[in-house]
Amino acid sequence: MSKILIVAEHLDGKLNPATAKCITCAKQIGGEIAVLVLADAVDAIAAEAARLDGVSKVLTVARAENAHPLAAVYAPQVAAAAAGYSHVLAPSTTFGKDLLPRVAALLGVAQVSDIMAVDGAYTFKRPIYAGNAIVSVEAPQDRVLLGTVRVASYAAAGSAAAAAPVEALALDVALPSHTRFVELKQGKSDRPDLQSAARVVSGGRALGSAENFALIYKLADKLGAAVGASRAAVDAGYVPSDLQVGQTGKIIAPELYIAVGISGAIQHLTGIKDAGTIVAINKDAEAPIFEVADIGLVGDLFTLVPELERALG
C-alpha cells in the first residue's frame, strides 16, 4: 500500500484550497495520506488540514525560518520528512512548482509534473505542449515518486467527520540563509481568487483600454466572479499580468467562464480547457473562441455586456 505525503500550501495562516485537491489525487493513488505543514505558526493550518476527508495524519514543523515558502528552506525539510513514504505530492501551483523539483533533486529522483489523471500508483497522465498532447508516464516503483498535481483536474476533498491527529515532526536539518524573503505584493483581495474561483469573467484586447475594463469588473462583481484577461489585454497594459489566463498565465477550471472580446488564441484556450461552461461574447462570428464555447453570442461587447449586467438584476 502506498504511503503518501502531501506538502501543504498556505498563506497568512490559511490552507490553500489546492492542498485539498492534492488529497483527491492522492486518494486515487490509494493508501495512507499524511499532510506536512511547514510554517512558523502551524496550529491553525494543521487544524484545517486535519479536517479534510482522507487525511490520516498531519505532520507539522514549526520553525521561524518557515514563515515564508522559500524552496531552498523548505526542500531539505520535505526531503527529510519523505523518508518512509512512497509518494510525495504538492500542488502544481507556483508554490509546488518552485519547491518539489528541488526536493526531487535532493532525493535523486525524477518528478512527474502536472499529474492530471492517475492510472496506477506509478502511472499517470500529464499534459505536454501546453495541453496539446497528453502523455502516459510510468515511474519506477523502487524509488519515491515525486509529483505535482494539476489542480484544475481535481475537485477539492470534502471535510471529514472526525479530525485526523496532528503530530509535531522533529527534523534535524540545517537550513540555508542564502535566500531571504523581502516582500509579497498581493493582488486585490476583494474579489475571488482567479485560480480557484467558480466563476470567471475575462476580457481581451477588444476592450480597447484599461478604463473600458471597468465593464468586465462590473459584470464580474454582479456574478461574484473573479476577473481574468487574455495575454493580448495584459500586453496592451489594460490589466496587471497576474490576471492573465492561458498557457503562459493561469490555467483555470471554473464552473462558468465568460470570455468577452477574446478572439481565442491557442495560448488562451489552453488555459480554459477544463472550464465547465464557456460563454463567448465577440463581434467576430469567425473568432476561434466560438469553436470551444458552449454558448456563443455575436455582437458588440460595449452594448451586450452592460445589457447582460442589467439582465442579471
Binding site: T94, P101, A110, N132, I295
Partner: protein, 248 residues
C-alpha cells in the same frame, strides 16, 4: 562575472503540434524548431546584465544532437560570447539536464545561471530548481525583475498570490517568466559575427553524469475535444441558456 544560460531548442511556439496516429510520439518531422521562448528571455536578461557592466561574459549551453550547432549560433548571434554544446543523442529529462549543468558549473564557475522556467515542449518546469538543489545554491524562479549588485540578486517573482521579492546570495539560479523582458531580434551583421564565435563541444559520456531519465512515456494521445456549443441571438437567450444549465 560570468553568466551561464540554458538554451534549449523546441518546436516553435506557433506550430500546432499533432500526435502521431499510433500514439508513439508527437509529429516533429519538418516542423519549425526555435529557441524555447523562456530561454530567449533568459539570454536577453544575461545580455542586458552584461551591457550594464554587471556581467562580463555570457555563455549559452545546449544539450542535444550534432545539428544543435545551428541553434546555438542563433544564441551567439543574439549576443552570447560563446557556446557549449553537450552532445547527446536524444532529449534528456530534467534531472539529467540539471546534472549536466552542474558539471559545467563546476568547470565554468559562473555567478549566475539563468534558464527558462520551463521548456514549452515537455512543460516540466524542473531543471533550474534541480540544478539549484544539486549545486546547493539559491533559486529564484519565475522571475519578472532582476537586479544584481554587491554579490546579491534581488528578484521579483510572479507567484499565484501576486509578486514576491527575494534576495539571494550569488552564485544563484534564476528561472525566467514571460514578462521579465522582450528578447531582441537578431540582425544580419550579428549572424555574420556569430560565425567566428567559439562553440565548445563536449560529449555527454565524457562528463561522467549518472543519467536521471527515470520516467518512461508509454503513450501519447491528443487532448479530449470539447463539444461544439450553441449560438444565442441576444442577451435574453444567453441568460435563459445559463439558467437552463443551473449556472444563474
Amino acid at each position: 562575472m560570468k553568466i551561464l544560460v540554458g538554451y534549449k531548442r523546441v518546436v516553435d511556439y506557433n506550430v500546432r503540434i499533432t500526435v502521431k496516429p499510433d500514439g508513439s510520439g508527437v509529429a516533429t518531422e519538418g516542423v519549425k524548431l526555435s529557441a524555447n521562448p523562456f530561454d530567449d528571455i533568459a539570454l536577453e536578461e544575461a545580455l542586458r546584465l552584461r551591457e550594464k557592466g554587471v556581467a562580463t561574459e555570457v555563455v549559452v549551453v545546449g544539450i542535444g544532437p550534432a545539428d544543435l550547432q545551428a541553434h546555438l549560433r542563433n544564441g551567439l548571434a543574439m549576443g552570447a560570447n560563446r557556446a557549449i554544446h553537450v552532445v547527446a543523442p536524444d532529449a534528456v529529462q530534467p534531472l539529467t539536464a540539471a546534472r549536466v549543468f552542474l558539471k559545467l558549473v563546476e568547470k565554468e564557475q559562473p555567478q549566475l545561471v539563468i534558464v527558462g522556467k520551463q521548456a514549452i515542449d515537455d512543460d516540466c518546469n524542473q531543471t533550474g530548481q534541480m540544478l539549484a538543489a544539486l549545486w546547493n545554491r539559491p533559486q529564484a524562479t519565475f522571475a519578472s525583475k532582476v537586479e544584481v549588485a554587491d554579490g546579491k540578486a534581488r528578484v521579483t517573482r510572479e507567484v499565484d498570490a501576486g509578486l514576491e521579492t527575494l534576495e539571494v546570495d550569488l552564485p544563484a539560479v534564476i528561472t525566467t517568466d514571460l514578462r521579465l523582458n522582450e528578447p531582441r531580434f537578431i540582425k544580419l551583421p550579428d549572424i555574420m559575427k556569430a560565425k567566428s564565435k567559439p562553440i565548445e563541444t563536449v560529449e555527454f559520456a565524457s562528463l561522467g553524469v549518472e543519467p536521471g531519465d527515470h520516467l518512461r512515456i508509454t503513450r501519447y494521445a491528443p487532448p479530449p475535444k470539447r463539444q461544439k456549443g450553441v449560438m444565442v441571438k441576444d442577451v435574453a437567450e444567453l441568460v435563459a441558456a445559463l439558467k437552463a444549465k443551473g449556472l444563474l
